[in-house]
Amino acid sequence: MTLKVSDLAIARGGIPVLEGLSFTLPPSAVLILRGPNGIGKTTLLRTLAGLQPALSGQIAGAEDQIAYASHADGIKPTLTVTENLRFWASVFGTADINTALQAFALSDLAHRPAGQLSAGQKRRLGLARMLVTGRPIWSLDEPTVSLDQNAVTLFADVIREHLGQGGSALIATHIDLGLDAKVLELAPFKAKPKPIDDTDGGFL
């Protein structure tokens, strides 16, 4: 279950954004990704989730182990909270959605159509999805956007519980979650532009 990344280079829209990135994420650990806007946090998480190919480098231990939560939550407004969760549960072949509902205090809202939730409640539903995937490595892109203080605590508790069960998490965030975690600052890995008359194979 250890995620191992070595000498990774990634690109967005054809332009390299990060390079020379290496880290390991053992079980029961959290790694926080830090860096200014536009440095490439989202791109990194998408690459690890297998949504886009890396430019170079190796990723080991990621395949079918990562549950990815993006900026968007993939929530259908006309389905109820339960229906939304149950759908993802059956896609990932798990059955129990009650733990997830309780962990994020969604039980009261279980039968509301998701479109009638407030932004913070929607986000909680999106995070509850991680619990029903049953996957060991969670990769979360700014999970606390539009959550209030109370919900952030709830979220940190869930993460701790997940770590206790041998899971691990990779979190891109700007705020302090109160977790005992290693921090990876991405700024030093910013890709350096190639000299512009190096047309070998490319256009730059």
Binding site: G13, G14, I15, V17, G38, P193, I196, T199, D200, G201, G202, F203, L204
Partner: protein
């Protein structure tokens, strides 16, 4: 030189810079020879060939109609080949060549359609009939349009190259399917293939042969159109490469490189 080395040397031209340098060198040759061949063929055909006993002077249209029709089809085949190369070996120049060729194919298709329609008026008494060959040409035209529109609609060049390549593959299969479907659906008026039959060329075929009087200027035109096509595609691929490099530079400037 071993075969492997030779194969490697071919792929060297997939480097944009190398491609630009080489194409710059050979382009003048293609421009001049294509202009010569097309010029000679058309002038010979237009001024110095007799009228056909059945078709009268309209037979002169063949010098434009047949070469453009051939090139319209061959252009698609070339795009298919370069798309495959892009999908398999990921050479950018290959994808850009397909992009550069498509508008040329459109114009060739248009010429074939226009000359055919104009020719049809005196010969068949109608501008247009739903003859299988005509119909499948029209469908080819639509494929070209969709292909170009897709290229233009997508911002990211690599994504666009991938998507258009797959469209070209799937489109080719469906183009062939339509050809058969159309054949089944309507039997036609159009001339069968005769120029390209061996018998016609050697002059031993008795029926429907194109006599040598018409054949030699036609040959010039066909060769000229092929050369012109090569010249245009080389030149336009160069343009696409430069546009692509410009894009990359601008994008890099924006991210503050």
């Amino acid at each position: 030189m071993t075969i492997a080395a030779k194969a490697n040397s071919v792929w060297e031209y997939a480097n944009p810079k190398k491609f630009l340098a080489t194409s710059e060198r050979v382009l003048p040759f293609f421009w001049v020879t294509s202009a010569l061949c097309v010029g000679i063929g058309l002038i010979w055909g237009f001024f110095f060939t007799p009228d056909d006993y059945k078709q009268g002077s309209t037979v002169k249209i063949i010098y434009l109609h047949v070469p453009s029709a051939l090139m319209a089809i061959n252009c698609w085949l070339m795009m298919l080949a370069t798309s495959l190369i892009w999908l398999i070996r990921r050479h950018h120049v290959s994808a850009l060549a397909a992009r550069a060729a498509a508008p040329v194919g459109i114009v060739m298709t248009l010429i074939a359609l226009a000359t055919g329609a104009i020719w049809g008026q005196p010969m068949w008494g109608t501008w247009w009939a739903w003859d299988p060959r005509l119909t499948s040409f029209l469908i080819l035209f639509l494929f070209y349009l969709g292909y170009v529109a897709l290229w233009q609609a997508i911002d990211d060049p690599d994504t666009a190259a991938d998507l258009t390549s797959i469209l070209c593959l799937v489109g080719s299969v469906f183009a062939i399917l339509s050809r058969y479907a159309v054949n089944f659906w309507n039997q036609g008026l159009h001339q069968g293939a005769s120029v390209m039959r061996a018998g016609a060329i050697t002059g031993t075929d008795t029926e429907e042969k194109v006599s040598n009087v018409f054949f030699y200027p036609l040959l010039f035109c066909i060769i000229g159109f092929v050369l012109l096509f090569i010249a245009l595609v080389l030149y336009r691929t160069g343009t696409e490469i430069r546009a692509r490099r410009m894009r990359a530079l601008l994008a890099r400037e924006r991210v503050g490189g």
